[in-house]
């Protein structure tokens, strides 16, 4: 309401856009006063158009409608929804202009036409049934119905206040200390701390804070392998603590773990031990999967689905694919057989051809080798299981009872494999690089030792 046009504006407009060199002060004042009057009139009319269009926001088309009403030419070019920013003119305070974009006509003509807007759709649903709003998709969630008023049974207002989670000073100190240790470099302290976390029953109150920390730390330090590793260690300690109740927070813990397995890039340099991180994180995922899978209805399917989509998406990098494979390995033999084996031929053929072509750089080659190694490991696990199955068939008694134990045995062997890599990491940092490629070879050797020449024809059954 207070805004008023200034006479300098009039002079500037006259000079720059109309080419009138100078206009006397009185003329400028007279013109600008009338301009302001017209502008106010126009705005009043525009508001009526806005109101009758049942909007609460004034749009350029309201102004244009008002202009048409006053028998003036509408202003074109501002009805498009893109945001334009007014720019202050330095030489003339109080004057703001919109920059006009340069448009290349030939380019515009060549471009394909923009998509037409989607047709309006109509949907019918119950807003209320005998005065009660049903909880359906089309209605707002019950929490949002704050203002809803029921006369017959008034809801006490106090009950709706959000509960404040108060943390005592001691707990705050403990939390700060734990976080600083986990972030720090002192391995001894860290180990002791993690050991304590995996047993202490008294840290229940801190669980939400730790969960939040895990979530934040992973999203903020996605390129720092060491930090991620510490976070995963913390996660593992928490979920293996049988004295605390962590179920309600699982839905917050699982995504960071999955990120640490499937992340496109979890390192600042490619030589960082992010492969180990993936192995370790997948072991964490395995624990969650087996320990809590039975409690939560959707957890297992959700995990399996995200791993499958990561595995089969051709767009994803090799690192993600590796993560998906080790992830499946950690979930158990049955999951490997169901989800991974059908795709094995497809995956391995692709990688083999690329490995043979020999023109990739060393980073690429390492990735290929790692993925191939993981695939072989998967094949190995399945073969072994098949072997046992056939034996079992021969035995053909109390199959059901034994199956579980066998599975567990299988699982633990995989874990030891991962634990080894983890231990390796702990002991030596420098020549990790060298330890990777031989591992692939040694694996082959193991497979060869176990199956002899037959490994290749057997493998080719799967490939």
């Amino acid at each position: 309401m207070e805004a008023a046009l200034r006479k300098e504006t009039c002079q500037a407009v006259a000079q720059y856009s109309l080419g009138v060199e100078s206009i006397p002060e009185e003329v400028a004042t007279a013109v600008i006063e009338d301009a302001e009057y017209r502008l106010r009139q126009l705005l009043q009319e525009a508001v009526k158009f806005m109101r009758n269009s049942k909007r609460t926001k004034l749009l350029p088309r309201d102004i244009n409608a008002a202009l048409r009403l006053e028998n003036m030419e509408p202003i074109f070019g501002y009805t498009a929804p893109q945001k334009k920013q007014f720019r202050a003119v330095k030489s003339c305070p109080g004057l703001y202009v919109l920059d006009d974009d340069l448009v290349d006509l030939s380019q515009v003509l060549e471009e394909s036409l923009p998509k037409p807007p989607v047709e309006p759709t109509l949907e019918a649903h119950w807003l209320a049934i005998e005065g009660v709003q049903p909880a359906i998709r089309q209605n707002p969630v019950r929490d949002q119905l704050k203002d809803a008023k029921t006369r017959s049974d008034p809801v006490p207002v106090e009950a709706l206040k959000p509960l404040k989670h108060a943390l005592s000073k001691e707990f705050q100190l403990l939390y700060d200390r734990v976080i600083s240790i986990i972030r720090g470099d002192d391995n001894e302290k860290k180990k002791a701390c993690l050991r304590e976390l995996s047993k202490q029953p008294g840290i229940q109150q801190l669980v939400p804070y730790f969960t939040l920390y895990i979530h934040k730390e992973v999203s903020e330090n996605i390129l720092f392998t060491e930090r991620l590793f510490s976070v995963m260690q913390l996660t593992r300690a928490l979920i293996s603590n049988s004295n605390i109740h962590i179920d309600p927070y699982l839905h917050q813990i699982v995504p960071p773990v999955l990120t640490c397995i499937l992340g496109k890039r979890l390192c600042s340099k490619w030589t960082d031990p992010h492969w180990d991180l993936r192995d370790y994180s997948s072991s964490v995922l395995g624990i969650i999967y087996h320990q809590f899978g039975s409690h939560s209805a959707t957890l297992q399917t959700r995990v399996a689905r995200s791993l499958t989509s990561a595995l089969l998406d051709d767009e994803r990098p090799l690192t993600t694919r590796y993560g998906a494979i080790v992830g499946f390995l950690s979930l158990g033999v049955r999951e490997v057989q169901i989800c991974l084996m059908p795709h094995l031929p497809f995956l391995s053929r692709k990688i083999e051809t690329e490995l043979e072509s020999n023109d990739a750089d060393s980073e690429r080659r390492l990735s290929l080798a790692k993925v191939y190694g993981a695939l072989l490991l998967a094949a190995h696990v399945c073969l072994k299981q098949n072997n046992q199955d056939t034996k079992k068939d021969a035995d053909s008694d109390d199959v059901v009872m034994k199956e579980d134990t066998k599975d567990n045995a299988e699982m633990s062997s995989i874990y030891t494999f991962h634990m080894d890599t983890y231990n390796n990491l702990d002991s030596e940092e420098k020549n990790r690089m060298s330890s990777f490629v031989p591992k692939f070879d040694s694996l082959m050797a193991v497979l060869y030792e176990q199956f002899g020449d037959s490994v290749f024809p057997t493998l080719s059954n799967y490939l």
């Binding site: 269009s53 609460t56 807007p117 759709t121 109509l122 949907e123 809803a148 008023k149």
Partner: protein
């Protein structure tokens, strides 16, 4: 009154000349003047009392050295603000109009800089919704010539402001003005105000006055209140074709009825029993009886992908047809019976208008509908043929509102040309013009007995018009903001008005009195409807809420104002869709429609 002032002045000068013995000058002055004034002059000193004499002396002395009016106004404002509570409320109503009139006077006398200073200094004190628009418009006035174009200025200059004050308060004010020699203020009061001295202090009025200090023709409102409004519903015999067996008995009965009964003021179409326009026995039998304990069910039609383009909506009484008008001049209609099963895409687009469509109204039978548009035309469409049948040209400017009468056949429209119009579907020219609003007619609604129509306007008032002679019979207001929606109760007794600032006002038509005003919504109230048994009003707004108001509480309460808590029964929240239309079906199912934001 300016004439009075002149004659006062003239008489005073003449008396002065005579007293001093300037015979020649006095004679010359007398001969210059009109005969009528000299007639009065025979008893010069008697009819000028001390007050006026004092005033005139000051007036003559101070006239030349007029000080800054802004300071004068500051003195008055602060004095009023510091008065006793009783007096402050009464004199408080003077503060805003005084500012406006002083400002306009300054403009008229071409003292432009002073006028701007006055408004700049004091406009911020009055930031209520009701005057914000007036001040916005007035601020643009910079030159004397603009006074003639400015609507608000014209309103104020052509009408005197009615003020009710007690004797005591008025004397206090006069003393104050004389003491401080605030001649300009005094002159302004004499020229533009119609001060009515009341014996009893009008404090009970004050609540109302505080909320609506903007322009409102109180006097007209009061005079119109004297008119009789026959608000009773129609007899069935007025619009139902009687079967021959009954005919022998009914005429006798109808002649026996008393005068209170409503006679239709326009020829009404008659329908046989069971016509689609009328309520059927089935409707009455299976109507859900509502109450505070048994609120209605609500069926919501949610539109998506409308991109702010949808302007208006109407749903037929049985929910079988849904019509929407768009700002790209399309009208789309949907078959409501299909949309329970799946999402309907697109609807059937109808092309006819050459501008935004601002209002649609379905006929009670659901076979026809009307649309009004920015291009100034109204079109009649058939849902069966899916095309337009008639174009009604009459309005020159955008038509904001159109509504079919409850018995079909007639319809009303109102638009930017500040006029309401009555039409019949078989004539292409209007039958009646309803003129009187000072600003756009935003909403037109039929009274249920088809003898009256109501119009709501952005001049913050609503009127009731008699169809017989086209005259205004009631003026409701002042409202605190522009009218966005209106609804009559089915018994024809009450009018509910939804305002742009989210408030809802309940009015008694017969007495022209307001029952209550409640802070209903947080956004403009786009739609209102009443349940068939007159128990609930449903209001919908841009704040994504549908509120149910219990109207029966108005009848039972003895208080002059009823609070929001007593009226509000239930609120339904939609999922981020502004509510454009609420309608009770004949079986009391609440149909709600809105566009997802």
């Amino acid at each position: 009154m300016p004439n009075d002032l002149d004659s006062f002045l003239f008489r005073f000068v003449l008396e002065y000349l005579q007293r001093k013995g300037y015979k020649g000058a006095a004679d010359a002055l007398k001969s210059e003047s009109k005969a009528e004034i000299s007639e009065h002059f025979h008893n010069p000193s008697l009819d000028i009392d001390d007050h006026v004499r004092n005033f005139l002396e000051i007036f003559l002395n101070v006239r030349e050295e007029e000080k800054s009016l802004s300071e004068d106004y500051a003195k008055v404002y602060r004095w009023i603000d510091g008065c006793l509570e009783v007096v402050r409320v009464e004199l408080g109503q003077l503060a805003y109009p005084l500012l406006v009139y002083l400002f306009l006077d300054l403009i008229r006398r071409e003292r432009y800089e002073e006028s701007q200073k006055l408004l700049d200094d004091w406009a911020s004190k009055f930031s209520e919704q009701s005057v914000r628009e007036e001040l916005f418009s007035l601020k643009g006035v910079r030159k004397r010539e603009q006074l003639n174009e400015n609507l608000v200025a014209q309103l104020y200059l052509k009408h005197r402001k009615d003020v009710f004050v007690s004797q005591y308060a008025f004397e206090l004010l006069c003393d104050f003005l004389v003491e401080h020699r605030l001649t300009c203020v005094f002159r302004c009061l004499m020229e533009h105000f119609h001060i009515r001295i009341e014996k009893v202090s009008q404090v009970e009025f004050s609540e109302d006055l505080k909320h609506s200090i903007g322009f409102f023709p109180f006097r007209e409102s009061e005079e119109l209140r004297k008119n009789d409004v026959r608000w009773k519903p129609l007899k069935e015999s007025d619009y139902i074709v009687q079967t021959s067996s009954l005919e022998s008995s009914t005429p006798l009965e109808s002649t026996m009825t008393d005068k209170e009964d409503v006679q239709p003021s326009i020829p009404l179409p008659k329908y046989p029993l069971g016509a689609a326009v009328l309520e059927t026995e089935d409707d009455k039998m299976r109507r859900v009886s509502l109450g505070v304990e048994s609120p209605p069910s609500a069926l919501m039609y949610t539109f998506s992908n409308t991109y702010d383009e949808m302007n208006c909506l109407d749903i037929s009484f049985d929910g079988s047809v849904i019509v929407a008008g768009f700002s790209d001049s399309f009208i789309r209609f949907w078959d409501g019976k299909e949309c329970g099963q799946y999402r309907l895409i697109g609807g059937k687009p109808l092309i006819g208008h050459s501008g935004s469509v601002y209002s649609v109204s379905l006929s009670p039978c659901g076979r026809f509908f009307l649309s009004s548009s920015e291009d100034g035309t109204i079109r009649l469409w058939s849902t069966k043929l899916e095309r337009d049948l008639v174009v009604y040209k009459g309005h020159l400017f955008p038509v904001w509102s159109v509504e079919f009468s409850p018995l079909s056949h007639y319809f009303i429209s109102g638009g930017h040309d500040r006029l309401g119009r009555l039409w019949t579907t078989d004539r292409i020219f209007p039958l009646r013009l309803f003129g009187g609003h000072y600003s756009d007619v935003e909403v037109m609604r039929w009274h249920p007995n088809c003898c009256y129509v109501a119009s709501g306007s952005s001049d913050r008032s609503s009127r009731l018009w008699d169809l017989r002679d086209g005259n205004s019979v009631r003026l409701f207001g002042p409202h605190t903001a522009s009218v966005c929606s209106m609804a009559f109760s089915n018994d024809g007794k009450k009018l509910v008005v939804g305002l742009e600032n989210g408030q809802i006002e309940f009015w008694d038509i017969a007495q022209g009195r307001r029952y209550s005003r409640v802070e209903g919504h947080k956004g403009p109230v786009w739609c209102l409807d009443v349940s068939k048994d007159d128990i609930f009003f449903a209001s919908g707004s841009s704040d994504c809420f549908v509120h149910l108001w219990n109207v029966t509480a108005l009848d039972h309460s003895l208080q002059s104002t009823v609070s929001k808590d007593q009226l509000l029964v239930k609120s339904f929240q939609t999922k981020d869709s502004a509510v454009y239309c609420t309608r009770f079906s004949r079986k009391n199912l609440l149909l709600v429609a809105g566009a997802a934001l």
